[in-house]
Structure formats: C-alpha cells, structure tokens
Amino acid sequence: MFSYCTDPEALSGLRWLSCYLTTAKHAGFYWSFLTVLTLLAITAPTALAFGFAGASAARSAFAPFRWIGKGYIAVVRGVPDIAFFMFFVIALDQAFEWVRHQWKCPDWDAPIRQGNDFVVCAAAKLPLGTADQWIHEVYGFFTAALTFAIVFGAFSANVLFGAMRAVPKGQLETAAAYGMTTRQTFWRVLVPQMWVYALPGLSNLWMVLIKATPLLFLLGVEDIVYWARELGGTKTARFTDYPHGDWRLWYFLALLVFYLAFTKVSEVVLERLMKRLTHGQATLGGSS
C-alpha cells in the first residue's frame, strides 16, 4: 500500500509491520469485521420480528397458534444453540431447494432422497450451478443470517412474552372498559408499554448475540475467525513476501480485544437507553 512496500525483504520493524498489515489479504480480514456487523444489523431486527410474532402467537386466544408459539420458544431454548445452527443451515437449504424443485420441475418423478443423496433437478439448485462465486457467498451468508434470526427469534420471543405479561392488567382492563377491541388494546396499549419491561432482557440478548457471531465460522462464512486462522498460520517465504511463524495467538488476541470493546460499548449505550426509557415511569428505575 505504501510506496516503500515494494521490497518487503529490505524492511524491518514498524515499517515492515505497516506494510504487512496493509496487504490485500489483510483487507479481506478487515472487511470480515464488516461481515460480522452486517450480520448483527440484519439479524437483530429480524430476530426481533420473529420474536414478536412468536410472543404474539404464544398469547393468542386461538389454541393452535398458542401451541406453535410456545413450542417455538420451548424447543429452541432447551437445546444447545450450536446444534440448531448446524441443523438449520442444511435444513433451510434443503427446504428452499425442495420448494423450488416442486415449483420448477413438476414432472420430475425420481425420488429426491436417493439413499444418502439429496437430488433435485438442476434448475432448482440454490444457487444455480452456473452462478458466480459471490452469489454462493451471499447465499451462504443469507442462510446463516436466517438461522441466527430463527434461533435468536425464539430467545426474544421468550423475553417479549414475559414483557407482555408484565404490563399491568389494569391498563388492559381500562382499555377494554373504554370499548377498545382486542386488536386495538394490543396495538395501542400493550405494545407501546411492553418495551420498558422487555429492554433488560433484550439488551442481555444483544450481548449474547454479539458473542454468538464467531459461530458464523462454523456455518462456512468467511468471517473474522476464518481470516484470523488463515492469516495467523505459519507462512514460509516461498508463498508470501511476509514470512512469519505461527501468529494465530496474536490474531485471536486481537479478536478478543475487539469483542471485549464491543460488549463494553454496548453495555454503556444500553444503560443510557434504559435510563432514557425509564424516565418518568412508575418503576424503581424511573423514580431515580
């Protein structure tokens, strides 16, 4: 990147390091931080939406909805989340391909599961066999993000379900007394008030979500863990201009510091948000 980087072997000390840290491969490493942030930016609202749907279903008056909502919360909570991550990435992929298969190749008569293989017609493959590499990567990222959203949706459904129950009954009864319908009560009285009760749980969840992001690596996305392993491994002079020993330790230390800083910043921001939201509320937090 810098003009003096043309001959790395002649460099030493800080100059060498500055050249080393700005190679094209390191740019990939830095971009992968953006991958993590993008994942958070997509997953957090989607998971919240899933959670909202799950929580509303769980308190629905219609029994099958209630079972679905409660089942969704209970199953995802009782099982290790990483088992779900590994399951959903394949299961979603197969589900998408199956749906497309039914739609695009209706006259295909061979069974889809042949022994140990999962065979769909070429037109139903996701992404198409002819697609570019970047489409494969985006698709992989998309399934990973959806998986995160499903798992964390169940967590947030749990939080929001609790928050909906925490809204004082009197509020809802008053709304009913004023002649509001169930739907009006839900949207105008319950939902605006529940957020204060949900915030501690949701901020906890945000912390958990941040700490779950390295699992992207297991889902086959080229994230920061992937790059840290890739760049940190021993490099000999034959393959790179910047030979070095096993530096994975330092790369992972950098990741550790990144995550510590990220959680610390989130903690401070969420505390401020909580203070603002509880301002004037008739709770212990609000009176101070």
């Binding site: 909570r77 009782g78 099982v79 989340d81 088992a83 590994m86 394949i90 999962f118 992972f252 995550y259």
Partner: protein
C-alpha cells in the same frame, strides 16, 4: 447386525473402545442413537467436572469481588469481564494456542493441548466467571437483618460467613445458578468445533451428529437425536438442582416451591 451388537460395538466409541471404524454405509437409527449417545459421555464429563470445580472458584471470585481491598476486587473484576465479555468460541481458540506455546516451553504439559484437559480448563474458568457474577449479585442481596442478627448473636468473621451469609447467598443464587448449569452443558457442544483437535474420531454428541449429517446429507435425523438427548440432560440437571434447592430452602415454610424450568438468557 442387531441393535444390541451395535451398542456393544459403538457404545463406548467416544472413549476409544469397541469398533475402530465408524459406520460408513447403511446407517440405521440404532447406529445414530448409539454413537450420539456415546458422544454424550463427553458432554457430561465436561459439564460435571467444570461445574464442580467452577463452583469453588466462583465462590472465591465472588468474595474477592465484594472485598474492600482493590488488590482483590480489581483482578476479580477483570477476570469476570474477560470471560463474560468475550465469546466462548474465541476463548477456546485462544486457550488452545496458548497451550501450544506452553507445550513448546514445558513439554511435560503437553496434555493441556488435548481436548479432555484443555477444553475442561476453559470451561472451568468460563463457568467460574459466570457463576461468580451470579454469586456476587446474591451476596449483595443478602438481607441486612440476617447479618445484624448474626452480629447480635456474637458471630463474627469466618463463622458468620459460613453459618449465615453463605447459605443465604447460595439460596438466593440457586435459580440463576441452575440456568448457568444448563447453559454450561449446552456450551460443551462447542469443544470439538473449536481449535481442539479430535483424535481417532472420539468426539461429543454434536460431533457424531455432524458426522451422520455429512454422510447421509439428511439433518432431520441426527440433530433431533441430539436435541432429545439434551432435553433429557436438561431435565436431569433441573431434577438434581431442584433437590438441592429444596434442601437449601428447607427451613423456610412454604418456600420450597418446585424449581421451574424457566430459562433466562445468561450467555
């Protein structure tokens, strides 16, 4: 091959006994149940040992954190911050790399790079940090009246702690600690997917589940089996912790409520 034979062959496969080769074709349900169940041995091993050892360290750290002296509470704060503020996955990787360096300088410590010891150390420290935070919170909510009553009876120092403060702290912390235990067992599934290598395909439940999912390309059988095993394990943990909970609350009439499975998110 009958199912009993499969269990004989693969029941202790995760520990390296029995058949050497994993099944490669004709996967039956029995294969999957046996091998994944055999992998659960590791999950239970990691969970139980880390929990027991972590309990003691957590008590010490919680006390250090609530101590007056900055020489005690500063390190405790840092310890808790580092282990609670960073992903367990990164901790596993980092610990493995550190252990590799240790091995280079002190060859006698090479067992640390094996999963059975190295991952156990990480899980132990990790659960100690999470539990310490729980215990610290409980320690601060011990009723003032209890301590004042102890003072009035002339109990001081260690005796006051041992007889009054500590039992109350444990009683208050127990529901949250139950959650931590459940999450610790869930966290054990990460071990064989982070830096630590598997030797001779001896892995935990999720490792074998992934093996089957890769071979059969059908995730709908092995992962639900893992889920089933973990739900059973979770129920067992709740049962055992529930017994301790009734024991801790035995002096309180009407307080011996059953410990309900109400998972809070702590990790």
């Amino acid at each position: 091959m009958s199912c009993a034979q499969t269990i004989m062959d693969y029941g202790l496969r995760s520990l390296g006994y029995g058949e050497r080769l994993l099944p490669r074709t004709d996967f039956t349900l029995c294969h999957q149940f046996t091998l994944i169940g055999s992998g659960m041995i590791w999950n239970i091993y990691f969970g139980v040992l880390a929990l027991i050892a972590g309990f003691f360290l957590a008590n010490a750290i919680a006390l250090a954190k609530s101590a007056q002296s900055p020489w005690l509470h500063r390190p405790a704060n840092w310890f808790i911050l580092i282990f609670r503020g960073s992903p367990l996955f990164i901790q596993f990787f980092l610990a493995y790399l550190i252990f590799l360096r240790v091995k280079q300088t002190i060859p006698a410590l090479d067992w640390l790079t094996a999963a059975w010891a190295g991952a156990l150390v990480v899980l132990f420290l990790n659960t100690a940090a999470y539990s310490a935070e729980i215990f610290y919170g409980a320690l601060r909510s011990v009723p003032k009246g209890d301590v004042e009553a102890a003072d009035a009876y002339g109990l001081t120092g260690w005796k006051r702690f041992r007889r009054i403060v500590w039992p109350t702290m444990l009683r208050l912390a127990w529901p949250a600690y139950t959650n931590e235990a459940i999450f610790l067992f869930h966290a054990t599934t990460l071990v064989f997917f982070s830096g630590f290598p598997t030797t001779g395909q001896r892995g935990d439940a999720l490792y074998y589940a992934q093996y089957f999912a890769d071979k059969t390309f059908n995730p709908f059988v092995p992962y639900p089996i893992v889920a089933l095993y973990f739900i059973l394990l979770t129920l067992a943990v709740i049962g055992i912790f529930g017994l301790v909970n009734t024991y801790l609350n035995r002096h309180l009439p009407g307080e011996t409520k059953k410990l309900r499975y109400r998972p809070q998110i702590i990790r």
